[in-house]
Every structure is written in C-alpha cells, then in structure tokens.
C-alpha cells in the first residue's frame, strides 16, 4: 500500500480547513503499522483515505497496485470486498442481525456459498461459539468487538484497518481484543493499519507513524 502527497481539505462555509497535508507513506505486505496522534490530528481521516472510504483533495493511494482515486465509488467498494477488512471503535454491527448473521453478511454480499459455516467457524475462533444467535444489544462491548473482528476476517482480507478498536472497551477487555486481533493477523498474514492514541498498543506494531496537525511527524 502506497500513499503519495495526500491532502484533505474541507469547506467550512467561510474558510477551507486543511485536515491532512501532504502525507506520503508506504506499507509492505504483512506489516503492522500504527498511526498515532492526538484528537483532531487527522488519524481517522488518513485511515478513511487509505481504505478508500473517502477521497483525497489531492494525492493518490495505491492498494495492491490499484490507484483508488481512479476507481469510482462502486469500484472502490469491490476492492474493499476483495481485499479489505475493518474494525471500528463503535463496532458498527447491524442491530437487526444476530452475531452469526453479522459475520455472514460480507460473504452473502459477495455471493459466497458456505457463509454460515465460515461465520460459525470464525465466531468459534473468537470465542463466541455459544453466542451465535445473540443480537448486538445482548452482547457486551468486548463481545461485540469480537463479532466485528470475526466479520473483518471473513474473506480473509489482505489489509485490516482498525480505528481505535479498544476505544470503547475497558483495559482488560481491550487487551484481550488486541491479543485476538494480532493472533488473527498472524494466522492470516494480513497487513494491519491501526489508528490509536494508545502508545502501548502502538508499541506492538512493527512501525509507528505519528500525525500532528495533519502532517506526518515520524515516518
């Protein structure tokens, strides 16, 4: 994955606000990279751009050799379907679906057969074999993030994007989730891009990038 000269500006009515300025970086396959920074430093914006969830004002992102801004919205969606997994701070599980169905969804959207079996296996791997039929509201925060991890590893993805995955969890649960995430990452040889403001968490990654006021400070 390669980003060159990424800049993101937004109009706030009167002025243009620069959130991210001229960020370039390169991540090799299998590498685990942490993006650190204070609130408002542009971490989440950078993640959104790298994952193709948003488009930069200027600059380019290449994932697996494909330039994201050359694709249209549906093209980027197809790329995500094939290559990318996500874990969010707020879990983003669909409230109307059970744990099992949440994990099945990406496979169903891709039209894959055997979604139920794969999803069951993944949930068992994340320790939720007994909670397949529970709705998100019936699960604890840690359990919800386990479901989200299981969902992220359907595929399995080439790149996993994690946005403050422990931000909504207490320290002990957060630790468990992080261990699980790194284990899965190793098992599937996935590239990891982790956004966090937690130095100790970042220390577990191969490399750390620091953002301040929209600019890359180390990298």
């Amino acid at each position: 994955m390669r980003a060159t000269g990424l800049t993101k500006q937004v109009d706030t009515g009167r002025a243009r606000l620069t959130i991210l300025e001229d960020v370039s970086l390169e991540i090799v396959t299998g590498e685990a990279v942490a993006i650190l920074g204070a609130s408002g430093s542009g971490k989440t914006t950078l993640l959104g751009l790298l994952a193709g969830l948003d488009t930069p004002t200027t600059g380019q992102v290449h994932v697996n050799g494909v330039e994201l801004s050359a694709l249209d919205e549906d093209g980027r969606a197809a790329l995500r379907r094939r290559l990318v997994g996500f874990v969010f701070q707020s879990f983003q599980l669909l409230p109307a679906l059970t744990a099992l169905e949440n994990v099945m969804l990406p496979m169903e959207l891709a039209g894959n057969a055997g979604a139920r079996e794969s999803a069951t296996a993944l949930l068992s791997r994340t320790g939720l074999a007994e909670r397949l039929d529970h709705y998100p509201r019936q699960l604890s925060g840690g359990e919800q993030q386990r479901v989200a991890l299981a969902r992220a590893f359907t595929g399995p993805p080439r790149v996993l994007f994690a946005d403050e995955p422990t931000g909504n969890l207490d320290a002990a649960t957060g630790e468990e989730i992080i261990n699980l995430m790194f284990d899965l990452n190793r098992e599937h040889r996935t590239t990891l891009l982790l956004v966090t403001h937690d130095e100790s968490l970042a220390a577990r990654c191969d490399r750390r990038l620091k953002l301040a006021a929209g600019r890359l400070v180390h990298g």
Partner: protein, 843 residues
C-alpha cells in the same frame, strides 16, 4: 489472486432475491419492519374492505332502488313495444314483464273517478314488493300472480271514492270487473304530480276487451327487464340504440331523482371514507419508511464498507420492499375479503336483502394501492439510502443530504395524488379530497412552524422542564413540524371520523326526518283553504302550510317561441309539453338556496320576475336575466329571471320549479297544494278528509318514504363501519408518528439520566415536549376537521353544517392527553434502564 477473483462478482439475480428475503426476514424478526408492514396491511385491508363492501352495498342499494322501479330497467313507449326488443332481452336471459298504463274513468253506479289504470302481464313486478289485502280485515300478503282475468285490484282511495268494497263490481271502459283485492303496496307508486289518480291494476289479457286502447289513445307501454347487472347493461345499450321518438329507457336513476340523490350521496360517503383511509395509510407508511431509513443509515454504510456496490444495496432493498409489499398486499386483500364478509353477515339482518357477491376489482385496487403507497413513500428514501457516505462508519454525524428526503416525499405525494384520483371514482370528490389533503398539510406545516418559533421564544424564561422541552423541539424544527403535522392529521382523522362524521350523517338524515311529509294534498280550491286548516286543527294536527299553485305552459324565452321540437333531449321535450306548476312566495323556502341572482325584496310585490330552479334552468337553457313567457289559462305572462335556486328535492316538501313574488300570479286560476306528515295511527283521517272534500287528491308517499328512510339507515350503518377502518388507520398514524422520534427521545433521556437527572425531571421534560406537540397537533386537527367538514358538507354532500365547538375542545384536550399518555408510555422504559444500555442500543 484466484481467491479474490471469486469475490469479484457480486451476487446473481436469484441469489440476490434470496438474500433480500433473508434480510427482510431478519429485519422483520428484529421488529424493524413492523410499523411499515402494519401500516401497509391496514391500508390494503381497509381499502379492499371498503372497496369490496362498497361494491356489494352499491349493488344492494341499486337492487333496493330497483324495488321502487319494479325492475332493473324499463323501456317506456307511446306505442306498442317491438317484439325484437323483448327477444333481445330474452336472448340475454333477462326476465321481462309487460305493462300498459293510461288514465281512464272507473265507474261504479253513479260515481266516476279518474283512475291511473295499469294492465300488467305475467311476471309483474320483476322486482320489489307488491302486497294486497283480499278483505278489509285481512293481513296484507304478497300475491302469487297478477290479477285473474275478469278481476281487478284497486287502492283504498278508489274504493273510498267509488264507495265500493272488495267483491263489488266496477266498470273500466266497456267491461265490468270484480274487485278481488285492495292494493296495499306496489312498485312504481310515483310521487310525481303526473300520476295523481287512484290506482287500478288489471290483467293485460283483459285490456283489449275494455275497448279503451285505440290508435291515438294516451297510453304508456312499458317493458320491464331484470336480471344479471352486466346483461342489463348490455340490454340497455341495445335498447338505447333501437328506440325511436316517443320512447325512452329508464333505470332507477332516470326514474327517480330522489333515489338518485340518495344513491349519489351514499356513494360519496363510502368513497370519501375509503379515501381517508388511503391518506392515513400513506402518512403511516411515510413515517415508517422515514424511520426505517434513519435506522438503516449505519447498516448501509457498513454494507458499503464491506464492499457492496450502490446498485446492490438499492437492489437488495427494493426487492426487500417489493416482497414486503406483495405479502402485505396479499394478506391485506385476504383480510379485506374476510372483513367485508363479517360485515355483510352482521349487516344482512339490517339491510334486509342478501348482499350480492363482490366483484374482483377491489383486489386489484388493494394491490395497486399497497404497491403505490410503498413505492411512493418507501422507495425514494431507499434510493437515497444507497448514497449513504461510506465514511459514516468513521464519522456518525455524516448523514444524507436533506434534499434527498424532500425529493422522496415529492415522489410519494405525486404517487398518492394519482392513487387518490384513481380511487375516488368521482373526479370532483377526488379533487376536493386531494386539494383538502395537501392544502391541509401545507397549512398545518406553516402554522405549526410559526407556533413553534413563538413558543420557543416564549419558553426562554420558563422552568427547566419547559425550557429543555422547547429546546428539544427547536433543535430539529423540521422533524418536529413533520411530527406535529402527522399527529395532527391522525387526530384530525379521528375527529373527522367520530364527531364531524356524526354531524354530517345527522345533517343528512335531518334532510329526511322521521316526520318528513308522507302525504301530498292537491287541488285545494281557494275557498277551501280556511276549511282545510280548520279541519286539521280540529283533528289535533298541525295546521298545514299551503302553497298556491298556478299551472302554465312555457311558450317563450327572451321573446322567441319555445317548442318541444327545438330540443333533442326527451326529458326536455316532455318538460316543454307539459304544464309547469308556478307559485308565489314572499320568502324562499328553507330547503331552497339561491345560487345566482337575488331573491326579491318586500317592495317588489307585483313585479313580474321569476326565481327558477337551477336544474330545470340548465335543462331548458335558461340563464339569469332571461325573459320567460308563460301561457296561463289563455293569457300570457312575461317576466325576467332574477334568481336561480337549488332545491332539495328529496326533502319531500312541496317545491316549485318557478316562483314569483306575491301579486303577480294571483289574477290567474289558482289551486293550493300542501304536504304534511300523517302519523300511521291517524291514517283513517284521510277517508274523512276525502269524504268532506271530494275534489281533493291525496297522494300517499308513506311507503316510498319508508323505503328511502330504510335505505338511508343502511347507508349510515355501512358508512360507520367503513369509517372504523379509517379510525384504525388514524391510530396507526399516531403510533408511527410517535415512534418516529422514539429513538432520539430515548437517547436524550439517557443523557439526562447520565447527567444525574431525577426520574421526575426526565418525565417533566418529556411531558413538556409531548404536551406542546399534543396541543399543537390537537388544535391544528380541530381547525382542519372543522374546515374539511364544512367543505364536505357544503360542496360535496349538499347538507348544512355548523362548526361544532366540541370538536375544538376534544381536539385540544384529546391531543394533549393522547400524545402525553402514548408518548410517556413509549419512553417510560428509560427510567428503569441503565443509560449505557440505551447508548449501546442506539449504537
């Protein structure tokens, strides 16, 4: 990359459909679809129930009305009716019966009486009741056949005036007949002034022997036809094509303006209640779809994030909704069919006739309505849903551009408008409802927006609960206005369907009260008026109001001579050929309304001007300020038309096509006419009256009146049932309107709890908010219901309507109490649930 290749293709058509079904099942199980589905189900169920039942009632009403005509259709001719027409009817498997009617003298000893003779053939009457009494004290019974050859049936009036009894002999023309029975009830007992005399029925086979029917005789030949409605319709078009001058085809509507008027009102009432259900259902569906959209914003963003294309998301959701629409449509139609069956079973004893089976058109109506509502109000938000910014998974504050929502509603509004016009059947009613509905929504939106601003300003210095409540309302002004309007529409429907409906139906029934005149008395001579009044007073009855009547023929309009040959229309020709009944009056009658020009002043006495009934003016092409020339008893009278009147003909009161001020018609020969209500137990009084004043002609319309009143009662029952569905739909709207903001409210309350608010404080802020919404919605509902009720009464149903203050009280306090109770009930869980759980549920 072999693995990723397999991921590259999105789901196939069939798999997509299966996935949609699964997603639907999951959403359904999670309770996401229920309001939408229930709204839709009720919409389709009420629509089809209304349509099915209206269809049956309409058929039953026309069959009830057919009883009055004695057939479904009658061909009337001034010469014997061609056999080919009779054959055409028989070929269509329709029943036929012949009758010949003419006026002639009936003789018994020294006495002769001008009688309305009817010679009837086998099978008469095809429809309707005929009862006779074979002796003075026998019970009325239905005869098995027509009078036997050599016998006649006569009515009481003829017996009285000829002073004969059952068993005696009377002569008609050259032949003597034995009176076998008295006629108690028979179809075709007309109210018109053309059929004045007492009645005598004889066997058609005996007609020739009377020697009365010869070339040039004034005789009406009637071929009655009855049977399958479609075939009757087919016969109608055949007959209409074959008839010549002096012939016409009559069905219930042509024959009886008073029945037509009642039928048209009944159809309007039923149609209106169906339309109300449609509007309410639309509001419920729109609200539910909006809520669905809001709750699925995240889901769609996640699906995009997981790699679903915009097209796939749209496809999955549209399919999901189509499946829902078809399922709700099918269930709704089934429920509608069951509903009308239950209803018919309940009403059959009251209706008195078995309702005919409904047609299948209502099924189509139900399905189309359900899909139009769903596609109109649910699909546009879904189209918007596919454009959810994927970044929403990271930033929850990213939503949809507002424009998408408004555009969505525009599509829904157009779809609903089309549906309403299609369902209305009657274009005028459709446009009124449409204009009323959208005008109301617009008006309610503007007023509630203004009221909200004022309230927020006023609430700045209020206590915590009010301030917080107002701030909440103000935080999302558009959503609050939408909620107030939706609640307002719901309450308005409830008020309209309960209070205003009652007022409207009462007004309608009041046009024909139980004491409506059931006797007409004509041919009262000027010197008998005083005696007549004295007779009534002496017998303990109210003094009758008598109207002067002068008979004249219209011979000129604006100086040009008028002849029946100038008009193509048969009815117009007849109107020109016969004499008009003219009258004079100082004040217009209470059931008359001036629609053009002005009524005369007191000092215009003796000025030759006319007030003409609107309908006849239209038929004859008479306009305001035209000069009419009448020939009255050999002299001519010319006058200007200074006003046009609308007359309630079904009031059964005496009314005149043409009226002039006092002092114009007095020099001409005048007789008087009156109508009055005679209680059933005073019926013998009429014999005394006729004995005392042998020249009086009494026309008994009691049986006809009773038939019409019975029909009216049935209609009222049917309409009330149909309104019940609107009522349920109104409640669903209220529920949907409250659930629309339920999630946000729970979230707000959880925040308050987190910040340490007591249960009381949380309750108070919510109560303040609900009370304001309820009061606003209630007031707007009362305003809307009053205005709509007024418009419906005056413009559509032609009944008087007074604005009812109870409507306002019930609207205001009902609105506050209802919204408060339902709202607090919905959010009470917040008090016993830890805030964290609510936050988690809210995502």
């Amino acid at each position: 990359m072999a693995e990723s290749q397999s991921h590259a293709s999105e789901v196939s058509w069939l798999r997509g459909l299966a996935l949609s079904a699964r997603l639907l099942a999951r959403d359904w199980r999670a309770g996401e679809m229920r309001v939408l589905a229930v709204g839709l189900l009720i919409a389709v169920a009420s629509l089809t129930t209304v349509a099915f039942f209206a269809d049956r009632v309409r058929q039953a009403l026309s069959s009830e009305a057919s009883q009055l005509l004695g057939a479904d259709l009658v061909v009337v001719s001034d010469r014997p009716i061609d056999d080919s027409l009779r054959k055409a009817a028989t070929d269509l498997s329709l029943a036929t019966a012949d009758a010949v009617r003419f006026p002639s003298m009936t003789v018994a000893g020294e006495r002769t009486v001008l009688t309305e003779i009817k010679a009837v053939g086998p099978g008469y009457p095809l429809k309707g009741r005929m009862t006779i009494r074979t002796s003075n004290d026998a019970q009325p019974k239905t005869p098995k056949a027509i009078p036997e050859s050599g016998t006649v049936w006569v009515d009481d009036r003829l017996l009285a005036r000829l002073q004969v009894n059952v068993g005696d002999t009377v002569s008609v023309g050259e032949r003597g007949f034995r009176v076998a029975a008295t006629l108690v009830e028979e179809p075709e007992s007309s109210v018109g002034f053309l059929n004045l005399g007492p009645r005598l029925t004889l066997n058609l086979a005996d007609l020739q022997s009377t020697g009365l029917v010869q070339v040039g005789s004034r005789v009406g030949y009637r071929l009655a036809v009855a049977g399958n409605p479609d075939r009757v319709l087919a016969f109608r078009s055949i007959a209409t094509g074959r008839i010549g001058p002096g012939q016409r085809v009559e069905d219930v509507r042509d024959a009886r303006p008073e029945i037509r008027s009642a039928l048209e009102r009944a159809e309007k009432f039923l149609g209106l209640s169906a339309l109300l259900s449609v509007i309410l259902a639309a509001v419920a569906v729109a609200l539910a779809a909006r809520r669905y959209l809001r709750r699925h914003l995240d889901g769609c963003a996640v699906m995009r994030c997981l790699g679903a294309s915009q097209g796939l998301i749209l496809r999955l959701h549209v399919q999901q909704f189509l499946i829902l629409g078809l399922a709700a449509g099918a269930l709704g139609c089934a429920a509608g069919f069951a509903g009308q069956a239950v209803l018919s079973a309940l009403l059959t004893p009251i209706v008195g006739v078995a309702l005919p089976l409904p047609g299948m058109r209502p099924l189509l109506q139900g399905f189309v309505a359900g899909l139009v509502l769903l596609l109109g109000f649910a699909i546009p938000p879904i189209v918007a849903l596919r454009r959810v910014p994927t970044l929403r998974v990271l930033r929850r504050d990213l939503g949809l551009p507002d424009r998408a929502g408004w555009l969505g509603y525009a599509v829904g509004i157009v779809a609903l408008s089309g549906l309403l016009l299609w369902e209305a059947q009657d274009a005028k009613v459709g446009w009124y409802v449409l204009g009323g509905a959208w005008g109301t929504v617009l008006m309610l939106s503007l007023i509630s927006f203004g009221a909200l601003r004022l309230l927020v300003r006023a609430g700045r210095n209020a206590g915590f609960a009010w301030r917080f409540g107002f701030a909440n309302l103000h935080r999302r002004p558009l959503s609050t206005v939408a909620q107030v309007v939706a609640l307002g529409v719901g309450i308005m429907a409830l008020v309209l369907l309960t209070l205003v409906r009652g007022d409207l139906l009462t007004s309608w029934k009041r046009t024909l009260p139980a004491e409506a005149p059931n006797r007409f008395l004509i041919n009262v001579q000027p010197d008998q008026v005083g005696e007549l009044k004295a007779f009534f007073v002496a017998k303990g009855l109210a003094e009758p109001v008598v109207f002067p009547m002068v008979r004249g023929r219209l011979v000129g309009i604006n100086g040009s001579p008028v002849a029946s040959a100038d008009y193509a229309d048969e009815r117009t020709k007849r109107l020109i050929d016969r004499e008009f009944n003219l009258s004079w009056a100082e004040q217009p009658q209470t059931d008359n309304r001036i629609v053009a020009g002005r009524w005369w002043k007191r000092d215009e006495r003796g000025v030759p001007v006319f007030s003409v009934e609107e309908g006849i003016a239209q038929t004859l092409g008479i306009k305001l300020d035209d000069r009419l020339t009448y020939e009255i008893a050999g002299s001519r009278l010319e006058g200007k038309v200074t006003s046009l009147r609308k007359v309630e003909w079904d009031s059964f009161r005496v009314n005149f096509f043409v009226v002039s001020p006092p002092g114009v018609l007095e020099p001409f020969p005048v007789s008087y006419v009156t109508s009055f209500h005679l209680p059933v137990d005073r019926a013998p009084l009429m014999d005394q009256l006729v004995k005392r004043f042998p020249n009086f002609v009494v026309i008994d319309v009691a049986a006809l009146l009773e038939q019409i009143q019975r029909m009216m009662d049935q209609v009222v029952k049917a309409v009330e049932f149909v309104f019940l569905f609107g009522l349920i739909a109104g409640l669903v709207v209220l529920f949907a309107a409250l659930s629309a903001t339920h999630d946000e409210r729970m979230f707000d309350a959880a925040i308050l709890r987190t910040l340490g608010a007591t249960s009381r404080q949380v309750l108070a802020t919510q109560a303040a908010e609900f009370a304001v919404i309820g009061a606003l919605a209630g007031l707007l509902a009362s305003l809307g219901a009053s205005v709509l009720g007024y418009v419906l009464a005056i413009k559509v149903l032609n009944v008087p309507y007074a604005i009812d203050p109870v409507v306002w009280l019930v609207g205001l306090f009902g609105g506050i109490a209802g919204v408060l109770a339902a709202g607090l009930l919905g959010t009470r869980r917040v008090l016993s649930t830890p805030p964290m759980r609510i936050f988690r549920e809210a995502g």
